[in-house]
């Protein structure tokens, strides 16, 4: 174990981030993979100090996550993790605050806190474990379940339209919006590291398989035979090509995306849309987010958008500094006796 008395940067191993608690997700759950990738990635975060990490969660399978990380942790109540994380971060800006949450926790009961955390650009990292089902309550449909889904509460098929979590985060002006998949270890690690290094609200949606209540929800994106034709890896500055032979590309016709065959003699790689994650306009980011679950398009993963803006916590603490400089450090005695006062003499 790392010794904190040593001067200089501490070298951690993945084990340093594992707590002494037995992990109690169902065998085969995608959550194990996410936990492993987080524990593998954290030692790579530049300047990381374990005591400055706080994991906050709400309720659900994913929300057990903090118990398994040997960092500070807070397993709270349903939906409220982003608000608790906000309170921690803005009062102690030196802490690195992470939220582990699920599709019910973040997008249903906690939807309000989620959009407002994004809007404010609080420097917290939100990892959404999206399995498109309520699993801890044993199999009811969730706000990301597809329409028509048969579950315990929708025996004749769900009539709800699902949320597109990426579009929601973009619409709420999150400054870092990304997606990865539990089974894609390398990609997931790189996205966790990118989120960790982003300053501002970082939203990372992770497609996570629930092998008990919604097994195979992302099969097309994870099975060897199908994934290359169904996943589009977004990379900044690179053309959007996909497919087994990397011969399909996304082209924009006006505002309409289309898939083109690069072998058809009519299109070349130069026609293909080049990804710009720093594009200030939301239009192309929305076009990409809406490729999700579309029968004619691959589902994009990677960083949809990253912007660099002052964060809420840094602005708040700057304001405190500025006001203190201007007015001087608060003096309670002076405050109490300020303004309209009068004196009564002792008789």
């Amino acid at each position: 174990m790392a010794n904190n008395i040593e001067v200089g940067e501490i070298k951690y191993t993945p084990k340093d981030f594992a707590s002494d608690q037995d992990v109690r997700w169902c065998p085969g759950c995608g959550d194990y993979a996410i936990l492993a990738q987080v524990q593998r990635t954290f030692p790579k975060i530049p300047g990381i100090k374990r005591e400055n990490i706080v994991w906050v969660s709400g309720i659900g399978c994913s929300s057990r996550f903090p118990y398994y990380m040997n960092t500070y942790g807070f397993h709270s109540i349903h939906g409220r993790a982003p608000a608790i994380a906000t309170g921690i971060k803005i009062s102690r800006p030196e802490l690195q605050v992470w939220v582990a949450t699920g599709d019910g926790d973040l997008l249903s009961i906690g939807g309000n806190h989620f959009i407002h955390a994004c809007r404010r650009n609080v420097d917290i990292k939100i990892m959404l474990f999206n399995n498109r089902i309520y699993a801890l309550t044993k199999g009811q449909y969730s706000p990301t379940s597809e329409r028509g889904k048969i579950t315990k509460t929708t025996p004749y098929g769900s009539i709800d339209y699902p949320f597109n979590a990426i579009s929601l985060a973009l619409g709420a002006n999150a400054t870092f919006v990304a997606r990865s998949i539990d089974r894609d270890a390398k990609h997931l690690q790189s996205m966790i590291l990118r989120a960790a290094q982003h300053k501002g609200t970082a939203f990372l949606e992770i497609y996570q398989n629930c092998n008990i209540f919604n097994d195979g929800a992302f099969r097309l994106l994870t099975d060897k035979e199908t994934k290359e034709d169904h996943v589009l890896y977004l990379e900044h500055g690179k053309p959007m090509i996909f497919g087994k032979n990397k011969d399909k590309g996304i082209v924009l016709k006006g505002l309409e995306p289309v898939v083109v065959d690069l072998n058809d003699g009519k299109h070349t790689i130069d026609d293909v849309l080049v990804h710009d994650e720093n594009d200030a306009s939301l239009i192309r980011a929305f076009i990409l987010s809406h490729l999700t679950d579309h029968p004619d398009f691959p589902t994009p993963v990677g960083v949809f958008r990253q912007l660099f803006q002052p964060t809420y916590d840094e602005s708040l603490n700057q304001q405190i500094k500025d006001v203190t400089e201007k007015l001087g450090k608060g003096d309670l005695e002076k405050l109490l006796f300020s303004g309209n006062t009068w004196t009564v003499s002792d008789n």
Partner: protein, 619 residues
């Protein structure tokens, strides 16, 4: 200058004045200015603003009437007065609405300019009350306030509409003349308030002086009233409202505990002002966070508490309901947190701008599971300062949520406050636990309080949460015996607060037939009512509970010394219910009036007399 007019000066002990007009007429401002000037003259005073929930209800209507009542005196007073001696009515609706409240023979000053057909109709007068005898028996002064204001502002570069806005300052000036108050407090305030709009300083000052001079010159006003300063204990005083005192109390608690203050809150009447006040004091290292909803208000505060702040959230009844689940989380995680409930009329949206005491049971019991918290209540506007410190002290020293109950009456009411020096305020002992070797998150001290270890402390990383904890280790536990033990520990921890809270004091005889017991904002009315009854010869004692969970340890003993306990509450008997079940006292007499208004002291007095068998004097 004309002839010197003859003015008589009348010395009086106390007077109750009510300013009333349209909600856009600036009556709250007029009342506040009169209060501040009166306070600075050394009178004791108490105020009661009464305004509609609508910001600007249609002009001239009864439901748009906004009032501000002020009771001031040359001796101690405890309430804003029962029935006004003086009414300033800026329009017919204000007259109509307030007429039934006036003392017989009260002075009424009306703005005759607003008594036109339209306004009379809006107020529901079929004939003009100034002409039809409605006001017979009152001392009526008809003053064309709007016209006189226009005349005074003839040379001021403002539109007619803008000039009309200064008419409340004319009325204020006239009242200053009538009660011999100086103008400088208000003029200084104007100069500060409108320093970027000099024309408004000019207009309002001119209107104010014109009102004052009108009183001086007009033959109609022949009497001025003098109220000597009250004999208050020596010291420096200020006038303070309950919400302001609450905000300052938390700043004081932050200073005394050495912890930064964090407020997570969502605007709600009548609590929003606390958030507004605290947002100003950034140089006291105060962080205010206007959250997206009530739940985020409290949960952000819980996060800040976990992170090592003095964390608070402020709300009113409906907001407390929304925060319920999160309070349970703070109980389970044993984190310090103060929740302020500025009670208002309920249920649901209820009466947002009116006062009530009906959240007591919600505060003490309103959570799922066995979820005890500390509950304290302020008795007067300035007492909010001390109780905010007390709530913080209990929360921090016992690692527990504490609910501070105030109400709309305390929040908006004001009174002179003898300002304490910082070194006279109680110390709040807080220590973050740093011994990594022996650290167990749910270990307990002699009061059953667990250690507070904040993120950022090396080698003490630990997890807390809403699932049941194993005692000592704090690991998740579903063990039946452990749960039973933890339920008892959490209850006993709250009971242990009794060790550090003051005993219940009895004013008057320590035992006897009748004790009038109150809690919260009924203090002033009870005190005044009891004193009046005593003057009439009745033997009656008074006690006031400021600590409601746990009760002071001598509470049962005090109650047992009295045959009968009269318990006035602005609810249907919530404290009565608890006291009966806790102390099995059979002589508790409920006195419940739930009108959105505080008790009047005469109501208490009459009730006491009734309990002694009617009009006959006591021994």
């Amino acid at each position: 200058m004309g002839n010197e007019k003859q003015t008589e000066e009348k010395q009086i002990r106390e007077v109750t004045v009510r300013f009333a007009g349209d909600s856009g007429d600036g009556m709250q401002l007029t009342g506040t200015q009169f209060s501040n000037t009166t306070a600075s003259l050394g009178n004791d005073l108490s105020t009661l603003p009464d305004y509609p929930a609508e910001i600007r209800a249609p002009a001239g209507t009864l439901y748009g009437v906004s009032g501000f009542q002020l009771h001031f005196s040359s001796s101690d007073i405890y309430t804003p007065g029962d029935k006004p001696d003086v009414l300033v009515a800026m329009n017919p609706a204000a007259l109509k609405k307030n007429l039934p409240d006036l003392k017989p023979g009260a002075m009424i000053i009306v703005n005759t300019d607003s008594f036109d057909k339209k306004n009379l109709a809006l107020a529901g007068f079929e004939t003009n009350p100034l002409e039809d005898g409605t006001l017979d028996g009152f001392e009526v002064y008809e003053v064309p306030i709007t016209t006189l204001t226009f005349n005074a502002l003839e040379d001021v570069d403002l539109s007619t509409k803008e000039k009309a806005r200064s008419k409340n300052f004319f009325a204020l000036g006239l009242m200053y003349w009538l009660f011999e108050r100086p103008l400088d407090t208000t003029i200084n305030w104007l100069k500060e308030k409108f320093k970027n709009k000099p024309v408004l300083i000019e207009a309002n000052e001119k209107a104010l002086r014109a009102g004052y001079n009108f009183g001086d010159i007009t033959e109609r006003f022949t009497t001025r009233y003098k109220i000597e300063p009250a004999k208050l204990p020596g010291g420096t005083y200020r006038n303070i409202s309950g919400n302001e005192a609450t905000a300052w109390g938390f700043i004081a608690a932050s200073v005394k505990s050495g912890l930064p203050l964090f407020l997570g809150s969502y605007p709600i009447t009548p609590a929003s002002e606390i958030l507004q006040y605290l947002s100003k004091y950034k140089n006291f290292n105060v962080r205010t966070f206007q959250a997206e909803d009530e739940i985020a208000g409290i949960t952000s505060a819980i996060g800040a508490s976990f992170a090592g702040n003095l964390a608070i959230t402020t709300t009113s009844g409906p907001g407390l309901a929304l925060k319920t689940e999160a309070i349970g989380l703070a109980v389970m995680t044993e984190l310090p947190l103060v929740i302020v409930d500025v009670q208002r009329g309920g249920p649901s949206t209820g009466l947002p701008t009116k006062t009530e005491q009906a959240d007591l049971l919600q505060a003490i019991y309103g959570r799922n599971g066995e979820a005890p918290v500390g509950v304290v209540a302020a008795a007067t506007p300035s007492d909010c300062f001390h109780m905010a410190i007390e709530a913080s002290r209990l929360a921090l020293e016992f690692m527990s949520p504490v609910i501070l109950l105030t109400d709309g009456y305390l929040a908006n009411g004001s009174e002179p406050w003898k300002i304490p020096h910082v070194d006279e305020l109680p110390e709040i002992k807080v220590e973050f636990y740093k011994d990594a070797e022996n650290f167990k998150p749910y270990a307990r001290n002699e009061n059953l309080v667990r250690p507070w270890v904040v993120p950022g402390t090396p080698n003490m990383e630990h997890r807390i949460g809403g699932l049941e904890k194993a005692n000592i280790t704090g690991n998740v536990s579903y063990d039946p015996e452990n749960h039973h033990e933890m339920v008892k520990i959490r209850a006993q921890k709250i009971q242990n607060m009794q060790k550090v809270i003051p005993d219940l004091e009895v004013d008057g005889d320590q035992e006897g037939d009748l004790l009038v017991l109150g809690w919260g904002s009924t203090y002033g009315a009870i005190k005044e009512g009891v004193e009046r009854a005593r003057k009439r010869g009745y033997k009656v004692s008074q006690a006031h509970l400021k600590y409601l969970n746990p009760f002071p340890k001598n509470t049962g003993g005090v109650l047992a010394k009295f045959e009968r306990i009269l318990l006035p509450e602005v609810n249907m008997g919530q404290l009565a219910k608890i006291l009966r079940s806790e102390f099995l006292h059979h002589g508790i007499i409920q006195f419940n009036l739930v009108r959105g208004l505080p008790f009047r002291s005469t109501e208490i007095e009459e009730k006491i007399i009734e309990l002694f068998g009617g009009g006959n004097n006591g021994q």
